[in-house]
């Protein structure tokens, strides 16, 4: 159990059954009034931002979150299947909980799965992954439009901007945090 004195940025608490992370916090006190603790929190499942004001004496339930390293196996309907390589336990994660990570999931990639009460709520991938370009228009020499990038589709179906010299079938490195092209993989 936490008290208002424990409030600080990064603290994870349970509120109305959901895990929240404190992203901003301040002690305030209107003139001659009582001490109040203004907090801004982010719902760790759906990202909603919540503003709450607490009084001294109020308490919070900690949010216990578990992180497990798992390997991506395959997609079935709207679910993504992962396996824990330590105990071979399998876990099925919904498209909602996967979020943007679904754009960069290639077979056998290792991901960090965040669990709250044994329920997966988030997936984080390595910062950089290599994915193959499945479709992009050829670069026409003498193109005078002045464009320094063009669209490309990768094997997961995700579309991003790449430099004009990238060709179909090439392997590129993508930054999973921004979803942007990083470099071409040589060879």
């Amino acid at each position: 159990m936490y008290s208002v004195a424990d409030l600080r940025k990064g603290l994870k608490i349970t509120l109305d059954g959901d895990p929240f992370i404190v992203i901003a916090f301040d002690f305030v006190k209107p003139g001659k009034g009582q001490a109040l603790y203004r907090t801004k929190m982010r719902n760790m499942i759906n990202g909603t931002i919540l503003d709450r004001t607490y009084r001294s004496g109020e308490t919070f339930e900690p949010a216990f979150l578990e992180e497990r390293t798992m390997q991506y196996l395959y997609k079935e309907d709207n679910h993504y299947c992962f396996m824990d390589n330590q105990n071979f336990e399998q876990l099925s994660i919904s498209e909602d909980a996967i979020g943007d990570a679904k754009n960069f999931l290639i077979d056998n990639i290792e991901a960090e799965i965040l669990l709250f009460k044994d329920k997966p709520i988030g997936v984080s991938l390595p910062n950089f992954v290599n994915l193959r370009v499945t479709q992009t228009d050829p670069w026409l020499k003498g193109d005078t439009t002045g464009s320094d990038s063009k669209p490309a589709t990768i094997e997961t179906g995700y579309v991003l901007r790449v430099p004009p010299f990238i060709e179909e079938g090439e392997l590129i490195t993508i930054d999973t945090r921004t979803g942007e092209y990083s470099t071409r993989v040589k060879g």
Binding site: V28, K29, G31, K32, Q34, L36, D51
Partner: protein, 307 residues
């Protein structure tokens, strides 16, 4: 904390702070005030529901110099001011330090409207001292110090910014939350705002307004959403003061907080205080305001965490 090198910006701020303090002293001397010094360590405080104290032996460190300054009014002083350190336990945030600098001043034969005029003069003097010409910038807003300052009643502020009456807010025990979340951030954004006429139960040391017994002659000064000062037309009726002190004690007792005996010498002297007005002004926050600092930490020599 600083690994040997004190932040240059902080050092600049402290130099400005000294300049501002000098300008305030000149302002008071031009207005015929006498600077006084009263003890910081006192046997008994004024009973206040929401102020917790720091003990010093069997006495306490004062949370404000109010008791001793009003006793000086009883002794015959007419215009006095004091800069001093005050202590309030467990108050720490971007605008709070458990040890901070307060400026208090008192005028006899005056009410709180003269203090509003004093505030205008004092803030202008502080801004001018560091080269600001009639305007202050705070977090993207330009606030004009010249011209007339907004006078807003608490009743009006609750209707305007929260769509609720102050009475209902008090009944539902939401007065402070609404004040902090909905009202304060709106105050003093174009010109400074004098928020005035508080419900009587929120003005324990203030005189009730003549002809309107449910409000007290108390105001707070806000500039750029920042609360700077709290002022009263002083309650000088010792019997009524005793009754209000007992109410504050009862609140503390019900909340499980330390209850101190009443300051009897103060109550005795109160009957010799002429009609007066007094104000407590947060100096750290005034410096924050004119230097457009976000945190109180940026305008003091050291914070408790840096000691």
């Amino acid at each position: 904390m600083f690994a040997g090198s004190y932040p240059a910006g902080r050092k600049e701020n402290l130099k400005h702070r000294a300049t501002i303090l000098g300008a305030i002293r000149s302002f008071f001397s031009e207005n015929n005030f006498i600077e006084v010094e009263t003890p910081h360590r006192i046997p008994l405080p004024i009973p206040e529901a929401h102020i917790d104290l720091i003990d010093s032996g069997s006495w306490v460190l004062h949370p404000s110099p109010e008791i001793c300054m009003k006793r000086l009014l009883a002794a015959g002083f007419e215009r006095i001011f004091q800069f001093c350190r005050c202590w309030r336990d467990a108050e720490r945030g971007s605008l709070h330090l458990p040890e901070f600098t307060m400026l208090e001043w008192y005028r006899t034969n005056a009410d709180y409207s003269q203090l509003m005029d004093d505030c205008e003069g004092l803030v202008r003097a502080a801004a001018e001292a560091i080269g600001l010409q009639g305007t202050i910038r705070r977090q993207g807003h330009t606030i004009s110090l010249n011209g007339s300052w907004e006078r807003l009643t608490v009743r009006e502020a609750f209707y305007r910014y929260a769509g609720i009456s102050a009475e209902v807010a008090l009944e539902k025990d939401l007065f402070d939350e609404i004040m902090v979340c909905k009202i304060e951030p709106q105050l003093g954004m174009d010109t400074p705002t004098i928020l005035m006429e508080y419900p009587t139960e929120r003005g324990s040391l203030a005189r009730k307004k003549l002809g309107q017994e449910d409000v007290a002659e108390r105001f707070e000064l806000y500039i750029g959403g920042l609360e700077l000062a709290n002022a009263f037309s002083e309650l000088v009726d010792a019997e009524e003061q005793r009754t209000r002190f007992v109410q504050e004690q009862e609140f503390r007792s019900a909340a499980g907080k330390t209850v101190y005996p009443l300051p009897e010498k103060f109550l005795q002297d109160l009957s010799n205080v002429p009609p007066s007005a007094g104000i407590a002004f947060g100096i750290d926050r005034l410096v924050m305001l004119v230097l457009d600092a976000d945190r109180i930490d940026q305008v003091v020599a050291f914070t408790p965490e840096e000691l």
